[in-house]
């Protein structure tokens, strides 16, 4: 098996919400890489990714909650934890 740096990743259904999430994560996680595919957006980072739900709502200019975020979360890599106000992925 190839030796790799442990990473975490989010794969989001392309759309306005995914664009907002990608923009917010790129700003809050300088080591994250965002890739735009025709139907989905991939955000990868070493170690950890934290989606702060209030920041996404602010970027969208509307109410936002964890349930709505989970609607566009197609897949992920890492260990996931869902809280009231955030969704956190860790590599460990």
């Amino acid at each position: 098996m190839k030796e790799l740096q442990p990473k975490v990743a989010l794969r989001l259904m392309a759309g306005q919400e995914a664009n907002a999430v990608a923009t917010v994560l790129a700003a809050s996680h300088p080591s994250a890489t965002v890739e735009y595919y025709p139907a989905y957006i991939s955000v990868e980072a070493p170690g950890q990714l934290r989606v702060q739900i209030s920041q996404i709502g602010e970027a969208l200019g509307s109410d936002y909650d964890v349930t709505r975020f989970l609607v566009i979360l197609s897949s992920y890599v890492g260990t996931i934890n869902v809280y009231d106000d955030s969704v956190v992925l860790t590599a460990a």
Binding site: S74, S75, I80, V82, D84
Partner: protein, 518 residues
Amino acid sequence: MAVLAKSYDRVKAMDWEPSYITPEEKFTEPTRFHLGKKAIDPFRTFVREYFQMEREKDSRHFAMLEAASRFQSSSPEPRWMEAMKFMLSNMAAVEYGAGRQMGRMARVVAPTELRQGYMMQALDEMRHTQLEMSALRHHMRTWEDPAGYDIALYGGHTNLGSGAFRSFLEDSLTCDPVESSIAIQIFGETADTNLMFVGMTTSATLGGDPVVASTLLTIQSDESRHMANGYATLMTLLNDDRNIPLVQDALDKWSWRMHMGFEVPEMLAADYFVKHKTESGKEMYQRWILEDFYGNFYRKLEKYGIKQPRFMDQIVRNIDWASHSAAVYLFGAWPEFYHRYDAPDEREMEWFEKKYPGWYSHFGKFWESYKRCDDPASGSFILKELGRLPGFCQVCQFPWIFPRPDASAGRRVLKNGKWVGFCSSACEWIYNREPDHYRGFKGFYDWCDGWEFSDVVRDLGYIRPDGKTLVAQPTLDMKRMWTVDDLKACDYIVRSPMHDEPVITGDRGDELVSQDLL
């Protein structure tokens, strides 16, 4: 932050042991794994939020489907639209089987959190079957050739390739109920679905089929929770040292089982269902399965004493050629399916050679013959050109042509006086582990050995409403289509290679081995 976790703990505490029934009566199917009472659901999903979320997903997706039925995009790619007849129909059958699986696990696996996750997953899988059926119906109504889409649900259970899907799915439905979680949630959903349900949405969009792109992504958004179900189950198991060898054994079996049953068909789809080629099936495999799954997810299990899967080397060897060998199977036996398919053109052949150096020397001849046999007036039938048919594996139901038809790992083994066929030493190991589990599988030759080929297609019923034209065609050109009479004129008789005298290539004392393959 604490509110959700606290409420979730409170709801969990409402579980109780019934007094009117013994644990043995309650958990009808025993498991050999040791499961404690405590587990974790990292999604902390309540039923109320679950339905809110699923309703939102459905209203977004069905709004898209509704709009798509009014606004046809510019013409979709015919290769892709025909391949979806095969892909969506088989997927609908697999998802339904997974739903049955979850109901069974919710019944017999003890910890509350896991049961709740499985129950929601059972509903998800029914939703997925319906989403795929909706896409099939949409395509039946809008695509230029509805034949095949109209029989998709019947076809998903009867086509020659469906045996491979049913084989792994029914195995996962009848094995130890905790082992099923490793099969479906760890390999199926944490590793495999990503390649197709996320990776291949690019091909769907480029092929002008946003309906399938949206279908795949909204399905995969449920898989996010299913991965967490699998992870929660696995972590609960790994916290008890007695489970480590049992988990290793199940990982050894299912990494190979899902490789053949699911990953090989996915690579085939990525390489052959797509006209506007970008990433190859092998590249997608490396990215989604070797890197994301084995490199990130599986490697984390090492700290619990889990080793790499027993057949990992064979898996890695297989990915160079398996998609092309599977294509020889799918398109070589084309009348036993219900889609039209044209041979790769010059540009595609160059792409294959670039992505898989040596491709032409191994598979070029097959595709040249396939192309020559496209006109029924020629009287040539591709299977006749190929010569002898391969046998089928008693376990995975694939023919003995892997990793490559001219370098097959297949064999016949004389077990208790009866020859049994295997695609590989991996499937033979799986058979030996539980022979009774696989001995009774019926395959292609049990059904139609000795039949003339047009009778096989008549028996399947893959014939258009005119009563004579075949649903499947070896070309996308609809001007001169093959009929059952054209096929009959080729006079091709199905003959199992098991009738041929074995050439003994190995003697294990109590078992003889024959590798006289093609």
